[in-house]
């Protein structure tokens, strides 16, 4: 009984296979088995969004998903969004507009914001606030996070226009 499961998943474009107990939460599998420590554990109770990753195109709080549910899934964490020497537009924008202070919430913010802009390339301020409502920040007061995302959206849109 309660045998370990053979889990396969693609994280940030790379295939992984490992053994895990079905009850292991996705966040711990990512952090402790795969050493992908971008997603953070803030609350462990599905409230703060620091653990947000993208699972098959959905923004998911990975503290509230069993690794067994994500078996076979395609997952993106903040590590798959930009690189230290080649930041994603959103990451650059967070830096530029002081969208972070301690940075603990930032991986979840960036991951969620990427998905938000994918679904709504031209959000209003209110839509950004509503779309980011599952992510809590204890430092910034949100003002600069919203500013960062709006600025990134307009930059991404101008880049798109220029490309056309």
């Amino acid at each position: 009984m309660f045998d370990k499961m053979h889990i396969k998943m693609n994280v940030n474009g790379e295939d992984h296979e490992f053994l895990a107990e079905p009850r292991d939460l996705l966040i711990y599998a990512l952090r402790e088995k795969l050493n992908i420590t971008g997603p953070h554990v803030g609350c462990d109770t599905s409230h703060c969004g620091a653990c947000t990753v993208t699972v098959d195109g959905k923004s998911v709080k990975s503290c509230t998903m069993f690794v067994a549910q994500a078996n076979g899934a395609e997952i993106t964490t903040v590590e798959g969004i930009g690189q230290p020497d080649a930041l994603h537009v959103l990451q650059e924008s967070f830096r530029e507009h002081h969208g972070l202070q301690c940075g603990f919430c930032t991986p979840g913010m960036i991951t969620r914001a990427t998905k938000l802009l994918e679904e709504n390339a031209n959000p209003t301020e209110e839509e950004v606030r509503f779309g980011m409502a599952g992510n809590i920040c204890r430092c910034t007061g949100y003002q600069n996070i919203v500013k960062s995302i709006l600025a990134a959206a307009s930059e991404l849109n101008s880049a798109k226009e220029a490309a056309q």
Binding site: P22, R23, L116
Partner: protein, 284 residues
């Protein structure tokens, strides 16, 4: 927080689910989005030795609008409800309500079926389904049966569903007239202090029909027939709304908790219902 260990199953069809439920009885439980169940398992308030994940069952997915009958599969997520064009036109109260549930991440995972089956008085879909007079379709070893949402809830976490039955879908007639889902909560992601689902139709300047259901103001959702009746035939003026609120207050039975004392909840319930009726009537 680590839940107790379990065996995990991901069957491809409902028959497979029923077979597992029969085999393991009380020790087995289905999981939809897991956004009510997993937190309970992490707190060890629920222990599930055999966990049956419904994510691969195609028959539980999908929204169909057939004439004026709307059917929503149990595994349709709140995110899908909000983004379905046909549904937003045919029954706009659904997306209005779903947008007030939790936050974007939770709405990608939380399902209509899980929200209705859960039996938590704080869930928003049960009251909404009572307002719409939905039929809940259940499948068990003996086949399918339908139960009216208005008869489905027995007590907190106790519903008419047997342990070996799976909730398949909900079905209701596309509502007509004006609608509103109003919810008072302490912050985004919170359950309701009070919420009201209202559908109103109008004929010759007067209320022709009215359906009113309240959330998180008793251990079950409350469809208040008397509150609806208080509006019928009126011009939905201040006096009629007062009568509807008084009738509703006779049907709810809130308890004191971290959302406030009973008197406060009754006060909020009255305000929320008045707002909901006003908006539904404006839209009728």
């Amino acid at each position: 927080m680590i839940p107790a260990a379990f065996d995990y199953y991901r069957p491809k069809d409902v028959e497979g689910v029923i077979a597992l439920l029969q085999e393991h009885g009380d020790d087995a439980r289905v999981m939809a989005g897991g956004h009510s169940l997993i937190p309970m398992m992490k707190l060890r308030m629920a222990e599930v030795p055999h966990l049956i994940d419904l994510q691969d069952i195609a028959a539980l997915k999908g929204i169909t609008i057939d004439g004026d009958t709307i059917t929503i599969g149990a595994m349709v997520t709140q995110h899908e409800l909000i983004n379905h064009d046909g549904l937003s036109a045919a029954a706009p109260i659904l997306s209005e309500a779903a947008l007030q549930i939790a936050d974007p991440q939770v709405r990608y995972m939380g399902t209509v079926g899980g929200n209705i089956a859960n039996g938590d008085p704080g869930n928003d879909m049960p009251g909404l389904m009572q307002c719409l007079d939905a039929q809940i379709e259940l499948l068990g070893p003996e086949g399918t049966r339908k139960v009216a949402a208005r008869e489905y809830y027995e007590a907190a976490y106790m519903t008419d569903r047997e342990d070996d039955e799976v909730l398949i879908s909900v079905r209701f007639a596309a509502p007509t007239g004006g609608y509103s889902y109003e919810k008072q909560k302490r912050k985004i992601g919170d359950y309701a202090t009070a919420a009201a689902a209202v559908q109103i139709t109008k004929a010759e300047g007067r209320v022709a029909t009215a359906s009113i259901a309240m959330t998180n103001l008793s251990d079950v959702p409350v469809w208040s027939e008397d509150a609806g009746d208080a509006l019928v035939g009126t011009t939905c003026d201040a006096e009629a709304m007062k009568a509807a609120v008084a009738a509703m207050l006779g049907d709810i039975d809130p308890t004191e908790d971290n959302r406030g004392p009973v008197a406060f909840k009754r006060h909020v319930a009255g305000i929320i219902l008045t707002r909901a009726i006003t908006r539904a009537w404006d839209r009728a």
